[in-house]
Symmetry: C2
Subunit: 433 residues, 2 copies
Amino acid sequence: MKPRSVFITISKDITLNIFGYKVRNVNKMKLFRTLISWDNALKTVLAHAKQTEKETVHFDESVDRILAEDIQSPIDSPPFDRAAMDGYAIKGQNSFGATPNNTVLLKRTELAGESAKDVEICEGGYLPIQTGQPMPKGSNAVVMLEYTKESATKLEIYKPVTPGKNVSLKGEDVKKGERVLQEGKVLRAHDLGMLAALGKTRVKVHKRMKVGIFSTGDELSDPKNLAETEKKIADVNSYVLEALVKKIANPYRIGIFRDDYEKIKNAITTSLTLYDALLISGGSSVGKKDFIADAVGDLGVLLFHGVAIRPGEPTGFGIINKKPVFVLPGYPVATISAFEMLVRPFLYAAHGVKEDSRKLFAVTRKKIPSAVGRSDFVRVKLVCSEDEFYANPIRVSGSGILSSMTKSDGFVIIAENREGMEEGEKVEVSVWV
Amino acid sequence: MKPRSVFITISKDITLNIFGYKVRNVNKMKLFRTLISWDNALKTVLAHAKQTEKETVHFDESVDRILAEDIQSPIDSPPFDRAAMDGYAIKGQNSFGATPNNTVLLKRTELAGESAKDVEICEGGYLPIQTGQPMPKGSNAVVMLEYTKESATKLEIYKPVTPGKNVSLKGEDVKKGERVLQEGKVLRAHDLGMLAALGKTRVKVHKRMKVGIFSTGDELSDPKNLAETEKKIADVNSYVLEALVKKIANPYRIGIFRDDYEKIKNAITTSLTLYDALLISGGSSVGKKDFIADAVGDLGVLLFHGVAIRPGEPTGFGIINKKPVFVLPGYPVATISAFEMLVRPFLYAAHGVKEDSRKLFAVTRKKIPSAVGRSDFVRVKLVCSEDEFYANPIRVSGSGILSSMTKSDGFVIIAENREGMEEGEKVEVSVWV
């Protein structure tokens, strides 16, 4: 797949990398002349999402990790027929016809050895049993305490049970050799339980990628050091990206770099010796100080810069020393949009995630306008009540509106071939995680 | 609210604690004679969910924590009118009437000081501007690069912009004093971003409760130590509970205790000196070795034991030294059900969670049968395709079927007054987290 993007560097050296598109040099500013479609941008990043290695971890450290092997059960579970209720193990057919007025009477089977497992229940016999205990030989049903009365070694039964009733059969939950968990599954609490139950105490998972994160911009300052009087802008992106990455991979927040071309190039080179991938935000628009895309192109190959998504248009992606580098917008909202539309799919692919569990369907409450030729990232609030399940688009006036994120429950993407969504249309919502 | 449960201890001491209900002593087994409704069980545990204390943390350590204060913005955001696009700051009205054939010509305003902020754009003037920069005095719109041509100090404009176009107005995102985040919100990446943007680098969150977890049962063995030949059952519950609790509070897995009444009592007493709450699983059914409920009643007050939920019926809850103790079933599936139906709501309430973001609505694909008088915990698989969004109930034959969990995406609760769900009915699904 060949990216259809244009990358133009008009710096000191007047390097022009133009893939067959007409460009116009206005006031030494770079221009996004042609935007790559979201679809193509996605294909490009996914083509470079090499799966991370596998590592073996203890099952109880595997929550939220992505399984890197299929798990076949080494055993039948349950390993034997067992009682599913407290009561009495009987031959079900012996209880047929029992009613409160016409009870069936059974005789307690005498225990030969110590355990009920060693005896056989013969015609007309019974033994008390607790949930989870193995069914004695010859028995095939458990009659619940409620429907019985025991006196000494006699059991009166008020209600019949069919053979098999209240019994968990061997292999009923999982059969030996059955695949219980599939490669690519994000492991949750009950999956750990399954691993424990089957005695699979060590599992292969995908190694978490080391992702370096930094922001660039003379105007930025770390919010932790930002004095109230200072006229700088808080660096939001590196913190947001750190929090987003943390759920999938291992983030390393490197800090803020000034708009200094050589320093940024050095920062990229050094970071790539330490991390598997880089997310760099700020300065990826078409202003004069757009050093990041230039630097990525200088150090490696810039595969695209400028994607037909909104917000997030000035997003770029390149490869340096075989390592992926994302160039993300300066605006936090645009960076979050670009993360969800391109970086998350990349990280999911690299970690072998098979299913995106964040997706659900709802009905739009309002018309959502969108331009053809651009994929829109629309923040929505889910409205859940007894009669309704709506996705309510949040009105925004610009890509700087961070409150559109904090007020929302998730987002809807409007494909570039769509002129918006109609009221009442069914839409796929990805909820924030 | 008075619990309607019955607690009967028929041990060595033949202690009978019966709240006005007829009981029948069969073969020295305890019986759940009357089950408390889920609704009442929930009210009971919530009545004892004392909110945890507040603590102040750095904003970047607050992901997934529950906000314990309302956040009002200390500033307008953006703090000044700023460019929302790269281009030229102009008086919008000066561009009126511009067309490609009849361009408007503006003259570059000369910079008096170093910065564009210090100058005023007068009638017919313009200045280049980048996204995010403050709008120069006198300007009210940004004309995008695409619709202009600059040569030396002259700017030709091809397309008019209305005043306000491509400008982010001061306070447009958030107004000073506006509440941006509400107490009880589970903080996500973009909320951190908002905190960073507003300079709120320290926030109050609810302290994570310390939850002690142990399993009981002679038949149990730690899956990590379980030899293949051993005829013991793997302790699944303490690991599952640890993983479930971890997302909300701090779990402490204590281990496995044998079915020894005194040892269990000691374990409870000791644990309660260390932790804020206890989850004890196993031995909570009506078998002969049901020591936990007895022990809770002995050491404190057992508020209920036996809830009309399925699975999870043998769930109990009590208070010892003002600390909550949950008595959970031995079967992992029943324990997960009891966790989701009672423990999670308790933990959410104790941590001040206001909204359960796991909920969505879907349509049932199959009829789901359920008995009146009992709340059913039905595992469902979500089926998402372009035309469908279904919740497909997973068929189970008993509460021991752990694979019903691992195959599902979440669960539906069928209220006790409902005789199941019809095919095509809208149901509320809680997805696994």
